[in-house]
């Protein structure tokens, strides 16, 4: 934040509090944004347990798990970046933020690979594609439509988060985020953590939890 923007605040501390609270309120909003889709998932899964089982079995556990690990590590790197910046180690912080962005790209690459694999198998959203000609059950169509909706929306959040972190990286490198006032980086990191948390919930829903319906 430039000094000029701060004139309507009493002091920098108040401004930092405002920025932090603003981000958290926004995150609460984001949670509700995803909640709508989670509600659909649980309702439809309750209605079509069999179709959802078949759908979960179609997804590659390995890819999902790799992506989970990637995002967890990326959360760690960005948290560490904040830690290093507070201790005055700007270079280390910059490297760590860069690593986080790279891990985000890694996540997206895997996700794209998965999507392409699905397309190759004839699995598209809306129950379109050759796969559903053989597996003509409403539940499995809905499973994959939701799969593309929820992971797609999450991927958009990953992209936004990478953009935010890349901007912050530039600001750290330029020196406009200094150890004494490191909070913009901390706030950006909080957003990235939320993206991670959402994936933590998506992963079991789409890869790990067949209900055992035969």
């Amino acid at each position: 934040m430039s000094a000029r923007a701060a004139t309507h605040f009493e002091d920098l501390e108040r401004q930092e509090q405002a920025a932090r609270l603003g981000m958290w309120v926004f995150l609460a909003s984001e949670i509700l944004f995803f909640a709508g889709l989670f509600a659909l998932y649980f309702a439809y899964r309750n209605e079509h347990p069999r179709g959802f089982d078949l759908g979960i079995a179609r997804n590659t556990i390995a890819w999902g798990s790799v992506n989970t690990a990637v995002l967890l590590v990326s959360s760690y790197t960005v948290a560490l970046a904040v830690h290093e910046l507070r201790r005055g180690k700007r270079a280390a912080a910059a490297w760590l933020v860069g690593a986080t962005v790279a891990l985000g790209a890694c996540f997206l690459a895997v996700k794209t690979g998965e999507y392409l694999e699905h397309f190759h198998e004839g699995i598209y959203p809306a129950g379109a594609g050759a796969f559903f000609a053989e597996n003509d059950e409403p539940g499995i169509k809905m499973f994959f439509t939701l799969y593309f909706c929820m992971t797609g929306l999450h991927a958009i959040h990953v992209i936004v988060g990478m953009g935010v972190l890349a901007t912050l990286l530039v600001r750290v490198l330029r020196g406009s985020i200094v150890p004494a006032a490191s909070y913009p980086l901390a706030i950006g990191a909080v957003y990235w953590h939320l993206v991670d948390v959402i994936w933590i919930f998506l992963w079991p829903l789409f890869y790990l939890t067949p209900g055992g319906v035969r």
Binding site: R50, D136, E137, P138, V213
Partner: protein, 351 residues
């Protein structure tokens, strides 16, 4: 309800067993509303005059409502509103629970018409013919978008949703014709998706069942009526064609699945010890999701018919089961083709 109250509230005539109770509550609630609004408003007007400003820049001593008064106010209003809720919810639950033995009519809504299928195989468009003083259950679904079956004179309404059967019921109290409206916006001809319930006296209804002429009292609406084969016998064909009879008998013998004789309307005990009445909801659910409620003593081997049976087939199957609900479990019942057709009787020939 008093006639003049009906006229005061601009309500349509009361033509179902629901109407009197609902209108009574309506009158109480609306009277409370008007009196409440008037009371608050007049109190404000009184104080406006009583405490008008006499000097510019007058100051006033601070005063507050005491917490005790506030709590009393909240308690009073809350009990009033909760009383509304108790009465309203009781009436509502009554409306949602069709009585046993109601005549069932299958309703299919589509843009922009109503189609009624009767147990005797008749079908009609837009005109629903029912007997007076007998409960009628509607099993409703939509072919396209959401519609809503609304008969103002019955104070009864139920949305009709694609992909599901919803039930509703009513008992008409006097012969006549009553308008059906579609209450859920459904596209360009929404306002023209009307029809009528034709309520007949017992004698007229009997004549109608036999396809004989009768005097429709107060006929205001005209509709198209088409005839069809008997739904229950169609159901027997469906049962044979779809392989149901490979596991379910219609002669009373238990087989791989429970027999259909006497099944409809009976109380069956499930695997988890609970029991459920085998009504339309249970039977349709068992076709779509057979594993959900397994009757005790049977193996969960039935495949789902989700996506295989269309709604006419489901309707005819249910009607078929209904037609043999009262049959004794001896093989003496006189149903044609009691045994499955040769070739469909073995499990190996399931479709």
């Amino acid at each position: 309800m008093n006639d003049w109250i009906l006229r005061l509230l601009n309500l349509p005539p009361e033509a179902s067993t629901f109407a009197a109770g609902v209108d009574w509550l309506h009158f109480v609630v609306i009277t409370t509303t008007v009196l409440g609004a008037m009371f608050v408003f007049l109190l404000a007007v009184y104080w406006l005059v009583r405490y008008r400003r006499r000097h510019p820049l007058e100051t006033t001593a601070a005063s507050s409502i005491s917490a005790r008064h506030e709590i009393a106010l909240i308690a009073a209003l809350l009990s009033l509103f909760l009383a509304f809720w108790v009465v309203g919810a009781t009436q509502y639950n009554h409306m949602r629970s069709p009585p046993a033995g109601a005549t069932t009519v299958y309703v299919t809504a589509k843009q922009w018409m109503w189609k009624f299928g009767y147990p005797n195989g008749r079908a009609s468009m837009d005109i629903l013919t029912v007997p007076a003083h007998r409960p009628v259950k509607l099993v409703m679904t939509s072919r396209d978008v959401i519609h809503s079956f609304y008969v103002p004179a019955f104070r009864m309404k139920q949305d009709v949703v694609p992909g599901r059967y919803y039930t509703a019921w009513f008992e008409a109290t006097s012969p006549g014709q009553y308008a059906i409206e579609c209450a859920e916006y459904c596209g360009v001809s929404h306002s023209r998706m009307g029809g009528a319930v034709q309520v007949l006296s017992d004698e007229d209804y009997a004549r109608w069942l036999d396809g004989k002429p009768f005097d429709a009292p107060g006929a205001r609406f005209e509709g198209r009526v088409e005839e069809r084969g008997d739904l229950a016998s169609a159901g027997r064909d469906v049962a044979a064609r779809r392989g149901c009879l490979a596991c379910h008998t219609i002669d009373g013998q238990p087989h791989i699945g429970p027999t259909w004789v006497g099944l409809f309307g009976s109380e069956v005990t499930l695997e988890d010890g609970t029991s459920v009445v085998a009504d339309e909801a249970y039977l349709t659910r068992s076709m779509m999701d057979p594993q959900a409620q397994i009757v005790r003593g049977y193996k969960p081997v039935m495949p789902t018919y989700f996506g295989l049976l269309d709604s006419t087939e489901v309707a005819s199957l249910v009607e078929f089961m209904k037609s043999i609900a009262d049959a004794t479990s001896t093989p003496a019942i006189t149903l044609p083709r009691v045994a499955p057709e040769p070739g469909t009787g073995s499990r190996g020939s399931l479709p």
